[in-house]
Every structure is written in structure tokens, then in C-alpha cells.
Amino acid sequence: MKIFVCIKQVPDTEAKIAPDGAGIDELAVEKWILNPYDEFAVEEAVRLKEASGDIEVVAVSLGPERVKGVFQTALAMGADRGIHIVTNDPLDPAQVAEALAAAVTDDGLPQLIFTGTVAIDDCANQVHLRLAHNLGASAAINVSSFSWTDEGAEVFSEAGNGSRNRLLLKAPAVVAVTRGINKPRYPTLPNIMKAKKKEVRRIELDALETGSGSPAVEITAIEAPEEFTGGTILEGESADTVPELVDRLHNEVRIV
């Protein structure tokens, strides 16, 4: 059985993000990492492989040359090979989903595709469901628990405020996972070294013939939000500061 994992490279959470026209200053980003939610996805795929035996895990990602680095992590965690759709173009979520669908179909439609439920850079929250639609696959997001059965993928999808839905997804299925589903492994040093030898196939985006023109969602500007210049610190005995705070919130800010 073949499983795909869609992975994305994003700036490290500590990275300095500076606007640069309609994008960000990528040179200012010192460290790029595998999207944390995609780490859960890779881990879930590798666990299924370890439990079931005859499974190939293929990591697929889209982006410029530097995206190569994110395959190293996925392969070191246990993915078998990778597919890198190479492009420098800024694509909108619909175009990304289209490219992924083309690459996946080209390689051979799998039973199961894992991905993270959101990417922490653009937080678009939609590539997974668009991808599923393009492939005619079932899909669930916010998946906190997964098991593979004869009927398909049985998942728990978090529905908000602690509620959850148990769903059965008929294969092929796109499963977008969230935190709590597993604890991703640290790649072992031997696996890190072995990962260097695993195949990552490069496909130029143009070669996929996806046919999409310009993005339907265009970024017109990136702005730094207003810097907060500081508030009021109340110091002293709680017996004094607390009534003062409540008074301000009640009368000045009129919240409560």
C-alpha cells in the first residue's frame, strides 16, 4: 500500500519575519523547519507503516530549492522517498492543491494521504480539503486520532469546545492531523545518515500541466502590525492594585 504525506517547509517559530513588498524577507529567516503539524502527519504515516509492514510512505512538497531540507527530516523519520515539485512562483492554495493532485496522480493514486491540518506560516487551512476534492477523495481535518480499517480510515475530528466527531472515510482518504494525535519521534542518528541516500524525485511545476493562470488570491501587501507601546503596570499591595484595576476595567475600558 502507498501512503503520501504532504509536507511544507516553514520559517522556524522564532524567526524574524520582515515584510518585503508582497512577501517576506526570506534571507532574514535563519532557520527553516518542517511545519510542526506536518511532523504529526509524517509520524502517523510512519507508525502505520511500522504496524502494517507492506507500506511505502512518500513525502511530497512544493516550493523552491531550499525546500529540499524538509525532505531530510521526513526521510529521517521514516518516509521512504520524496517528490519535490520545484517552483519559485507564489501560488495560492487552490493552485497548490492542483499541483499536489497532479503529482500524486502522476505517481499513482494512494489509498491514504496524510497532512497537517494547518501550516503555521500562511495558516490558509484549505489545501488539504481542496486536494481531496481534486482527487475525488474523502477528507477530514483536525484529526486527533486515526486507525486504518478494512472499510477505510476511522478518525476522530475535533469539532470545537471539546466535542469531536467519529468519522469513517472511504479510501482514498485525505487525513489532516492535529496536535495530540501522536508525539513525533526524534530521528535517530543512523536514520539521519541513511536518509541522505533516499530518493527525492524532482518535478518542475511546469511539467505537471496544471493549467492554472494567476492566483485567485493575490497578496497585495504584507504589513507589520502596529507595535504595542506598553500599558500600565500597577505595583504595590494587591489590596490596592486589584480594586484599582477592576475600577479601570469597569469604568474606563467598560468591559465588565
Partner: protein, 375 residues
């Protein structure tokens, strides 16, 4: 001359950093220091699974097949995360000694289990009242019908309580040339007793008493009388690797200090805008950079099998002083908050102090350098 880490070395560093960042926060390290043995079996197991113990071991013994330099890259990261525990003594001292001087049988018996996280070993060479030069060893080992009987005392043995075995330097004859032998002693052997030492540093140190401890001949590392060469090598590896550890700690101290200097406001401005603070941080950066290069030169020479005694002593002397300065300035930048036990600064400065004294202090190493340059 390419002074950068290789791709593989960078990968090892990144992997170690990610793991230690996730698993060794300040609270964990503090708990470790306060625990009875200073050893956490869960962390140990996780480290073994990651392959950390076996980085410098040959692949046939479950290792990664890399060398001493890669091991030091790892030890530098442990210094960065102020991680204490039996890793250093087990892997950098005992493990390296067994690879280089052990018999085939000893390598098979010990290296695989160490790599697999199943065996902890501690190096015991220093003695009370004696010099950093371990060839002044007095603990006696006398042959008695195929076995050797050990009598004496060793001091500053790290993690002896957590250890399964001790690698003990003993006197089997007169003089240093042929009179010293390394023995592998099981800590549960009758006659071995431990006393925990209350030290300023965060590591668990012990005094170990040997009273008529009987050791079989096959537990001699290599051959009888060959202990000088082995113990000298262990001292060099130890000193060089301690330098790497100090560099890792100093790097983090510099980063914390610069971050703090940018945030902390006094007299209406961030203290990082004051020239004195800037100069202090600059000096820390220079001390760190110089320490890094003098350490890795010594480490590289040891890895390549080149004569390294001068470089190791030069590094240990310099790095001990330089990292001590970095810690002192780090305390200075952090001011009052850096004086509290709650703040991590004291973890770094105490760990550094301990490292300064391991394998010879700065003055002792300066003497070695002086001798080697002809005085």
C-alpha cells in the same frame, strides 16, 4: 582550510540540539542535579535510541562509525543545555579507551551494551592529595593466583553510583612506564564502597574505596603494565572534550546575555545601549570564538592521531580561563536576577567551574605547555 563543520557534523549537531531542547529544559536538569544518583534512566534510554552513545563507536558494535570530533560536537550541545549525567565519563572516557586499548573480547562485551544504553561506566583515576598527573597513582593491584587484588581509594569519580563498571587506574609495578594498569571493576564487586562528595558543581562526584577487591585477569584493559599510555590518552580526550562542553555552555551564556541586554531597561534605556555592557559582551564573544577554535584544533589533532599534548594543554588552559570570564561577565550583565538560584546563570557558571578543574586546572596545563615549548 575549511574551518566549518561538515554536513554530517551539522546534522548531528541539529539532531542533538532538537532532542536536548525538547527533553532537557532547566527544570529537568535541576531535578537531575537534586536526584540521588544524578542519572535519569528514561533520558538515557531515549539518548541510546537516538544513537548518541554510539556516535564514535565502530558500526560493528552498534555505533555510527564517526569519530572523536563528532562526539565532541555532541558534547558541546550537552554543554549548551547544561546537561549533566554519566554520558561524558561512559562514552568519552571509558568508551574511547575500550575502542583504542580494549581486547576484541572487551570491545564486544562493552561497546554494544554502552551504545544500546544498557551499560554505564565511570573512569576512576584521581586520588586524594595527589596530582592531576594520574601517573602518580598509589592504588595497588597485586596478583594473586590469576586474579588481581585492588586496594586504595579514588576520588572525584563521576556518577559512580549510577555506574555498572568502573575503569580504574592501578599500580601493578614500580615507575610509570610499565607500572600502571587499567582494570574494569564491577561496582557491585565485594570490597567496592562509595561515598558521595558534596561539591559545588552540578555533577554527582564520589570517593570510591577499594578493599581487597578481586578482579579477574581478563578485566585488564589491554595488557598489564600498559596503563600509562591509555590513561594519558584518556586525560587528553577528557580535557579536550571538557573544552567542547565549556564552549557549548559559554555560547548559551553569551546568547542569554545579549538577549537580556536588549530587553532589560534601566535608567530609561536597554542596558545593551551602554558602552560598558557592549564591550563586556564583545569580550565574551571574542573569548567564545577563541575558545571554540583552540578546542577544535586539539580535538581535530586527537581525531587524526597527531601528536596533540601541547594543543590539548593550551586549549584547556585557555578555555578554562576564557569560559570562566564569560560566566563572570554573564553574571554581570544579568545583574541581580542573575544572582538568584532560579535563574539559569548559576547552572552554567557552576558547570563551567567543575569543567575548569577536570583533567587539570589552567595553571597545571600552563606548566605542561611551558615544558613542551622548551622551558
Amino acid at each position: 582550510m575549511d574551518l566549518r563543520l561538515s554536513e554530517d557534523q551539522k546534522m548531528i549537531r541539529e539532531a542533538a540540539r532538537d532532542f536536548l531542547e525538547g527533553e532537557c529544559p532547566s527544570s529537568f536538569v535541576r531535578d537531575l542535579e537534586g536526584s540521588s544518583t544524578g542519572h535519569d534512566p528514561h533520558l538515557w534510554q531515549a539518548m541510546a535510541e537516538l544513537g548518541l552513545m554510539g556516535v564514535s563507536f565502530p558500526e560493528e558494535y552498534g555505533g555510527l562509525g564517526k569519530g572523536f570530533l563528532e562526539l565532541c560536537v555532541l558534547i558541546e550541545e550537552m554543554g549548551r543545555f547544561r546537561l549533566t549525567g554519566p554520558f561524558f565519563t561512559t562514552v568519552a572516557l571509558c568508551g574511547m579507551a575500550i575502542i583504542r586499548f580494549g581486547t576484541q573480547e572487551q570491545k564486544s562485551q562493552y561497546l554494544g551494551p554502552i551504545a544500546g544504553g544498557e551499560r554505564i561506566m565511570a573512569y576512576a583515576a584521581l586520588e586524594p592529595g595527589r596530582s592531576w598527573d594520574t601517573s602518580s597513582c598509589a592504588l595497588r593491584a597485586e596478583e594473586d593466583d590469576g586474579a588481581w587484588i585492588l586496594n586504595g581509594v579514588k576520588i572525584f569519580v563521576p556518577y559512580a553510583e549510577a555506574a555498572d563498571d568502573l575503569l580504574v587506574l592501578a599500580r601493578t609495578g614500580e615507575g610509570s612506564e610499565n607500572g600502571l594498569t587499567l582494570f574494569i571493576v564491577d561496582t557491585s564487586d565485594p570490597g567496592v564502597s562509595l561515598k558521595r562528595l558534596q561539591t559545588l558543581g552540578p555533577e554527582h562526584q564520589y570517593e570510591v574505596l577499594f578493599e581487597d577487591v578481586s578482579v579477574q585477569g581478563n578485566r585488564i584493559l589491554g595488557a598489564p603494565g600498559r596503563g600509562l599510555e591509555a590513561s594519558n590518552m584518556v586525560s587528553q580526550w577528557g580535557a579536550a572534550a571538557k573544552c567542547a562542553q565549556m564552549v557549548g555552555g559559554a555560547q548559551r551564556v553569551l546568547e542569554m546575555s545579549v538577549e537580556y541586554a536588549k530587553e532589560r531597561v534601566q535608567f530609561g534605556k536597554p542596558i545593551g545601549t551602554f558602552q560598558a555592557v557592549q564591550h563586556n559582551c564583545a569580550n565574551m564573544a571574542v573569548d567564545l570564538d577563541s575558545s571554540r577554535f583552540i578546542s577544535y584544533e586539539a580535538i581535530w589533532r586527537l581525531e587524526e592521531g597527531l601528536e596533540a599534548a601541547t594543543e590539548v594543554s593550551a586549549a584547556k588552559a585557555w578555555v578554562s580561563d576564557a569560559c570562566s570570564r564569560v560566566c563572570r561577565l554573564g553574571h554581570g550583565v544579568h545583574g541581580a536576577i542573575g544572582f538568584t538560584m532560579e535563574h539559569d546563570m548559576q547552572l552554567y557558571s557552576r558547570h563551567c567551574k567543575e569543567a575548569e578543574l577536570a583533567f587539570g586546572d589552567a595553571d597545571w596545563h600552563r606548566e605542561q605547555v611551558a615544558r613542551r615549548i622548551g622551558l
